[in-house]
């Protein structure tokens, strides 16, 4: 009996099925009308379930449909197909009620340059219909949280990129949202600012806020997301916890072997049997295998002398590049 109990709790901890659904999408589609032709379908039928307290990520190259999906979730872009429920509500009907309970941190800061830091937060709180006194108190707390108390009277112009980002996130928390949407929250920030932001997002997650974010940075996704989907060309190509995705779509380790210019193609054939998969890049070979050191040893056994070798763990980036390709998307 105790066995079944502990099993139950373990499952719960992983799947969180009894938590209420924050976002449910079934066959969700977004088509943009264009002046000429049929229009462009940015999201082509995706299913998503995000539960309370989760940190959920959307990964994908440019044009994968992440931002279009985020805009639909934020209830500022009409759904053109399928079904979407946010906090149990239909964005087509209850847009204002939904937006009242979510926080949005857009990709590019849209702070009011004319106002100072305090006023940016204050007027924004008023849009949610919060009483003046309540907003004032929350602004104080949020300035503290964003480490901007000293800058309360400063103009937005005078802030650094990292400060602006923190202010934007602080602003998105003014209504104490149940669900926080972050579109590429750390793009363009220096490493110090990124780590500070990650720390703050982690604290929000600890406090129980459901986070939904898009990112280009695989390390960010691994750090922050409990679960993520990889999107490509409007559809979901993989879904799961970062670790599970790596296990499923890549090997445990990767051996990177660098040879002389022009030798890679020939050597790739010779070494193809050493790993589950071999990838030839202009400057090196990537051998995906359970044991990378062994790949290196066997390579030497075969009389090949790489100029340089590197054995590393598989990362989410390997998964991402495998699923979405190495071709540049503009």
């Amino acid at each position: 009996m105790s066995d079944t109990l502990s099993e139950g709790t373990a499952d719960d901890a992983v799947e969180t099925p009894d938590q209420p659904a924050m976002i449910t999408a079934r066959g969700l589609r977004k088509r943009f009308r264009q002046t000429s032709g049929d229009g462009f379908e940015a999201v082509r039928g995706i299913d998503i379930d995000v539960r309370k307290g989760e940190a959920f990520g959307f990964l994908g190259p440019n044009g994968a449909g992440k931002s279009s999906t985020m805009r639909m979730i934020a209830s500022v872009s009409p759904v053109t197909g399928g079904e979407l429920r946010i906090l149990g509500m239909d964005p087509a009907v209850d847009g204002p009620a939904i937006r009242g309970r979510i926080g949005v941190c857009p990709q590019e800061d849209n702070l009011d340059q004319e106002l100072n830091v305090f006023d940016n937060l204050y007027v924004y709180g008023r849009y949610f219909g919060l009483p003046k006194q309540v907003v004032r108190e929350r602004v104080g707390e949020l300035l503290e949280f964003a480490k901007l108390t000293e800058k309360a009277k400063a103009k937005v112009d005078e802030l650094s990129g990292g400060m602006k980002r923190r202010l934007t996130i602080a602003r998105s928390l003014i209504n104490r949202p149940d669900l926080l949407l972050l579109d590429e929250p750390t793009t363009g920030l220096d490493p110090q600012a990124r780590h500070l932001l990650w720390d703050q997002l982690f604290r929000l997650k600890q406090a129980g806020v459901t986070l939904v974010l898009t990112t280009h940075y695989m390390d960010e996704a691994e750090q922050l997301c409990d679960r993520l989907v990889i999107m490509d060309k409007g559809v979901i190509v993989a879904e799961g916890a970062p670790r599970d995705l790596i296990r499923e779509h890549s090997t445990r380790e990767v051996a990177e072997l660098r040879f002389g210019v022009g030798e890679h193609a020939a050597h790739a054939e010779l070494l193809a049997d050493l790993g589950d998969r071999i990838e030839e890049l202009p400057d090196r070979l990537l051998v995906y295998a359970e044991d990378g050191e062994e790949v290196v040893a066997r390579t030497h056994e075969r009389g090949l002398q790489p100029i340089a070798t590197l054995v590393r763990r598989s990362t989410l980036e390997d998964v991402f590049l495998r699923l979405t390709g190495r071709t540049l998307v503009d």
């Binding site: 847009g95 009620a97 204050y122 924004y124 929350r138 707390e141 459901t210």
Partner: protein
């Protein structure tokens, strides 16, 4: 547990969907899950009062200064200096006792148009795409009609200030024929300005870039300013020209403003003037809301 210092910010476990978080829900317009729908219009406007008040607190001095200065310059140049050369009897000046008295009510109406246009071109484009203030507003419970309403409300306030100050500055020049006429003329000038405000706002929401504004100023505002009866009676334009001039919205504003300022009211004309301006203003309002909706919520 795990209540880090952020606990206070994110809401004491408010996250648990119902319970305390519905407290927030009630703020956004009640019953969150059922019915929902639009935020009441007036509520949406009131929520933006602090924003516009903050902006006004920073800009009102400039508004007042320019509202004093430009009428002075115009009246001195056009009314006094140029008007000194104008010898015409009151008949040809639509009942005005002097050219100054003739030109002033028209000038104020034309000035209202210019103020409205300048407030609904670059500033609106800025909020749409440069500073993207509207994007941040529409991520909250506010909807396009609230955003448009509050912005146009601010334009209305600007018009009230400008036209009101203009009229005050001119009072000592003895250009008014009755004590009540200027007040009605003032309302006509504000109405005229608001008609242009809603129409040009709608135009701006449908422009991808600011390049259209050059065309609007050169082919719209400037000819209207010169030829809609502000500086001379439109009958001087001949039958065809006069008829065309009488079809422009600015003429309706100028005519209305002048008839009341000179206490020379033709009531059926006043009725037509008001009707035209109101109909255009209402159409402009709907075009503005639909334009902003298409632009921002696609």
């Amino acid at each position: 547990m795990a209540e880090i210092s952020t606990g206070s910010i994110t809401g004491e476990g408010s996250i648990t969907g119902e319970g305390s978080s519905t407290g927030e829900g009630s703020i956004t317009g009640e019953g969150s899950t059922s019915g929902g729908g639009d935020l009441p219009f007036v509520d949406g406007l009131l929520r933006q009062v602090d924003y516009w008040a903050t902006l006004w607190a920073r800009t009102w001095r400039g508004v007042v200064a320019s509202s004093f200065l430009s009428p002075f310059l115009y009246v001195i140049a056009m009314g006094v200096l140029l008007g000194g050369f104008v010898e015409a009897d009151s008949e040809t000046l639509e009942g005005a006792s002097s050219y100054l008295a003739f030109v002033v009510p028209g000038l104020i109406a034309a000035h209202a148009m210019q103020t409205a246009v300048s407030e609904t071109t670059y500033p609106v484009m800025g909020m749409i795409k440069w500073q993207r203030i509207y994007e941040s507003m529409l991520a909250t419970p506010l909807q396009p009609q609230h955003v448009v309403g509050a912005h146009l409300g601010s334009v209305a306030l600007h018009l009230v200030a400008t036209c009101g100050l203009y009229a005050l500055v001119l009072a000592p020049f003895g250009v008014y024929e009755s004590w009540w006429g200027p007040f009605v003329a003032f309302l006509a000038q504000v109405l005229c300005g608001m008609t242009f405000a809603t129409l040009v706002y709608a135009f701006t929401t449908r422009n991808r870039s600011e390049e259209g504004f050059g065309v609007l100023f050169r082919l719209g505002v400037f000819p209207l300013f010169l030829f809609s009866g502000a500086f001379f009676p439109v009958s001087n334009l001949g039958d065809v020209g006069g008829t065309i001039a009488r079809l422009t919205p600015l003429w309706h504003g100028v005519n209305l403003s002048r008839m009341f300022a000179l206490d020379n009211v033709v009531w059926w004309q006043a009725g037509v003037n008001v009707a035209v301006l109101v109909v255009l203003m209402v159409l402009g309002w709907f075009w503005s809301v639909s334009g902003l909706t298409k632009r921002m919520l696609s």
